[in-house]
Structure formats: structure tokens, C-alpha cells
Amino acid sequence: MKEELFVSGRNIPNIDPYLNIWHWQIPLYLFLGGLAAGILFFAGYFVVRGKEKEMKTTVKIAPIIAPIALILGLFALFLDLKHKLFFWQLYTTIRLESPMGWGAWTLMIITPISFIWVASYMKELIPGWNWKFDFLEKFEAFVIKHRVSLAWIMMIYAIILGVYTGILLSAFNARPLWNTSILGPLFLVSGFSTGLATIIWMSKDANERKILSRIDLVFIFIEIFLIVHLFMGFLAGSETAIEAANLFLGGEFTVSFWVFVVAIGLIFPALFETLEIWGMHVPKWLPPVMILFGGFMFRFIMVEAGQITRYLY
């Protein structure tokens, strides 16, 4: 049936013709949150496994990035708020139904943990480091004694943080591109992969890099697998879901998604990491930079594209 359709509309800034409320701040925050989650998870993981000595960069040096990333991410979130001076209201309420409320509280817990973790290694990293105050020395001794417990808590919160970066989007029923439960695991895996990439980039120990590259390869393959499933789910879905998928399958985000995210962010770095494990010489910075770029683009594109998708009525 041929159909002619005309719908008049409004012209409210950032709402019409399609939503554009969230700009670069939210994807930057999602990226930094996932990256910090990845770094902290693997720092905790190798302590629990008792490999503190072999994985020096992972456990001791790279975690310095995590609190910095979290603070920058929080600052980006703050920039995104339109009623900035009221931001403290986030912490006077507990709203179990609100993903954003969950995220605010998770950050409130994992940021101090990341600071404590880094502080507990200061003496090993900087010889002659002195905490000046007696109670700080005592607290440090306490943390070092219970480091494995702290590692477990940190790993759990890193997973919550990583999943949350996806759930923040997937909880919005009104945006069909986001409204899929696979986004939680996908953002978690992608975040862990960017975290690993950062550690690989920082590490000077060839053996450590090899171990991390192997883990990273697994994560990249899981991520590709989840992306395939994402599109399978959409294409088997309702009209709104198919329309969301079509933005990436011939629509305006086709090139940016498949080139920047899938090719540069996943397939090429996986290839280079494999070559490196086989013993070929690959510039050390190349795969990590590609993964980090792909990870950021993935979040940027998902946030942009999701706001275009909507219910049809």
C-alpha cells in the first residue's frame, strides 16, 4: 500500500526533530568509567591470584590511572548537568529504581577504594615515601594486611561499575537502540578491554604484556560475539528495533561504526596482538591506542545514535 505521511511538529531546542540532550560528556564518562573498572578489576584479580610480583604494572602502577579517570569522569558528568549547583541532591536520596542513582553511589564507593589501593603501594613505588601522620601509617598497615579482601571488594565494584555504564543506557525503554539487556555485558567487556589496553601500553615487562594480551584477545572476541548478537536481536525485533539496527546497516552511522569501532577498535588490534604473541615486532603502543580509540568511539556512537531512535506513532 502506498502511503503518504505528513506529521507536523515542534521546534524545541535539543528535543526536535530528534533528541540531542546528551553530548560528549556522557560517552566520555562511560569510557573513563569502563576503563577504570577494567584497570581496577585486573589489579584486584592478580592480587587474589597471588601474582603481585609478576604483574607489577597491573597491580601497582596502572591503578594510578583509575582514580584520575574516575575524577575526570565525574567532572564530565558534572558538566553534563544543567542544574549544576543542585548536584548534591544525588547524595541525599537513594532511589533503587534509578540507574543513575545507582551509578552515583557506586562511584562514591569505588573512587575512594581506588585511592586507598594506590596509596597502599606508594612506599613500594617511591622509596622513602612518608605519610607524615601516625594514623595514616596505621591505616596503611591495616590496608596492606587486608589487601586480598580489599581486592575482592574492588573486583565486585569494578564489575558493577562496568555493567552500570551499559545499564545506564539500556534502562531507557523509550530509545529502542539502548533498550536491550545485552548492553550491560557489552559495555562491561568493552570497558575491561580498554582497561587492559591501558595496562599493556604502560607495561615494560614483555612477559606481563604477553599474559595481558592473551586475556585481551579473549575479551575482544567476546565483544565481537556480543555485537553480532546485538544486531541479531534487533533484526528479529519489532519495527522500532529494526529501525534502530538500520542506522548501522546502511544508515548514517554505518561507516563510523564498522570502521572506527569494529575494524580499528576490535579486528585490527586483535590481529596485531596475535602477531605480537607469535613473536613478530609490532609497535607497543599501536594495539592499545586502537582499542582505546575504538572504545571511546563505540560509546560516542551509541549515545548519539540512541537518541535518534524512538517509538513510532
Partner: protein, 177 residues
Amino acid sequence: MRYAMAIDTKKCVGCGDCVVACQTENNVPHGYCRDWIVERVDGTYPSLSLEFRSERCNHCDNSPCVRCCPTGASHIEEGGIVTVTHHKCIGCGACIQSCPYDARYSHPDGYVDKCTFCLHRVQKGQKTACVDVCPTKCLHFGDLDDPNSDVSLAIKDRSWKVLAPEAGTKPQLYFLT
């Protein structure tokens, strides 16, 4: 009590009086609106059909905007009216993202603003500004729980639809068709 609105799409001529009345009554900033007219033409010439809809917030029973608000600024008032407490809103935009009807906007002062079903008038026993000014009397407001209210009588003998019922929000704007 359950406040709702019925919009007679056969009587609406799309004059836009409801939009202007709302902007005046609620001091809506220039360039924004809390209610709006959708004019929709379907079919192929010469067999065309035209529908006018005066749309606004659906004051959903299952409102995603209230669920996702991290501070509790978005909340449900008496009679199921969804409103925003301005001094609690941090302007994060989550509720704007969550609304399938795009009924919310970011006020230039920072907080999120939307239709309040003229709560301040309804509490005094008056009708909403848009209903009061409608020249074709195509808007009906009232309490769904009261079988003799304007809205209950309006939807009683007519066929009606709601927008995007598949979004699961249980919207409370009834469009008479």
C-alpha cells in the same frame, strides 16, 4: 482519583489555542511549549485522512521518567499527575531520555519542565488552561474514577486510542477517533 484527558481528534481543528493558553498560564519560556499540535495526513491522494492531535505529557500510570529520576525530583502528585520539583532537579536529562512522547524539555533555567495538568488550577477545582480555552470543546479533563466526570463521559460511547501503548507506560491521554 485518576486525572486524565480525552482529546476529540474529530473536533480538533489544530488552531493552537491550547498551546498559547498553556504558555501564558504557566509562563513557559519563549521557544518552548508544554503542549503541542500534531497534524497527520495519511493515505494517497485523493483518498487522504487527516488527524489533529493536541498532545502533552501523558501522565502515565507506569511512568519511566519517575522511575529513572536519581533525586526523586520527578514524582507523582495526587490523582496520578506527574510533576518535577524544580529545586530537587539536577538537570541530568535521564527523564527526557526516558519519555517515549518527548514531553519533557530542559528549561533555560536548568531544571526539567513539563505539563503539570495545571495542578495549581486543578487543586482549586478549576480545569486546565488548555481545556478552558479550547474553542471547539474538543478537550475533556477530569477524574476517571468518577463516572460522571467530563473525561469519563467523553470516552464512554466513543472509540479511542492511546499513543504508543507498546511502550508499556499506560498513558492517560485518550484520543477519541
